[in-house]
């Protein structure tokens, strides 16, 4: 098919080199900006471990509502609800919200009880980057249930300076 295989190979090398430098220029960019201690997926995992200990965390029961695409990370509306009858014998004890890339992994913790009536809490949070937000609920039988949402953030919060 190809008349000159050497020529196409050379073009491909050139193309790859260009793409490579393009990608590395992106990778280098975040190191240029001053960043305080940043939470990572690993630090989120350790923050979660601190809450749940060795107990297994199962998917389900929890519904985390965060818009998948937010323009302003300074105020992102968040609603978390848990399927629970909220009775004395069966209720939600607490709901923990975590994130991956803000300076700190913890976002909020809500403590509920049988007097809550309905396990649904809304708030507004900050997101410093496009990342995963995780909600973990602890039920009265000490089982843990979770839900997570990947959020795209256009304007980051937390790290901007006053200018």
């Amino acid at each position: 098919m190809d008349d000159n295989p050497q020529d196409t190979a050379a073009t491909r090398r050139k193309f790859l080199a260009t793409v490579g430098s393009f990608i590395s220029s992106f990778a280098a960019a975040p190191t240029a900006t001053v960043r305080p201690a940043t939470a990572t997926p690993a630090s989120m995992a350790s923050a979660i471990r601190e809450v749940v200990g060795e107990a297994p965390v199962r998917q389900g029961k929890v519904k985390l509502d965060v818009p998948p695409l937010v323009e302003n990370g300074n105020a992102v509306s968040l609603t978390v609800s848990v399927e629970s009858p909220m009775t004395e014998s069966e209720h939600v004890k607490s709901i923990h919200i975590f994130n991956e890339k803000n300076p700190q992994s913890n976002v909020t913790t809500f403590y509920l009880g049988p007097r809550g009536g309905r396990a649904r809490v809304s708030s507004r949070i900050r997101l410093a980057d496009s990342q995963k937000v995780v909600a973990i609920a602890r039920l009265s039988d000490d089982s843990f249930w979770s839900d997570s949402v990947d959020v795209m953030v256009t304007l980051a919060a937390c790290l901007e300076d006053l200018r």
């Binding site: 305080p36 700190q104 976002v107 507004r124 900050r126 006053l162």
Partner: protein, 106 residues
């Protein structure tokens, strides 16, 4: 003092699940930002919110710097009896702001 807005229904049926909304004006300064001359802006966060219904705690929240400025919280509780619902916000320095609302349960 800062201003707090609370929204509690004035009347409710017994055992009705009511929604409570609260908003307090507070910068929720994270401590990660710098001012225009490069000095770090000290952290100033409301770290705790408690809601009590006739003295019994029905909802509590621990807030971290990732909560947006002017913290908004909305949650539910069961209208058990007539009385007052009290709210208390506590910041890093131990300063508290309180608000209360009365509810009539039929």
């Amino acid at each position: 003092m800062t201003r707090a807005l609370i929204n509690v229904p004035a009347k409710a049926q017994r055992a009705e699940v009511i929604e409570i909304k609260t908003l307090i004006s507070h910068p929720m300064e994270t401590g990660y930002r710098r001012d225009n001359v490069g000095n770090p802006i000290p952290r100033n966060i409301i770290s705790r919110f408690v809601c009590t219904y006739n003295g019994v705690e029905v909802f509590r929240a621990d807030l971290f710097p990732a909560v947006a400025a002017n913290p908004f919280l909305s949650f539910f509780t069961v209208a058990t009896e007539s009385g007052t619902i009290d709210f208390q916000w506590t910041d890093d320095h131990g300063n508290t702001q309180t608000a209360s609302a009365s509810i009539e349960v039929e």
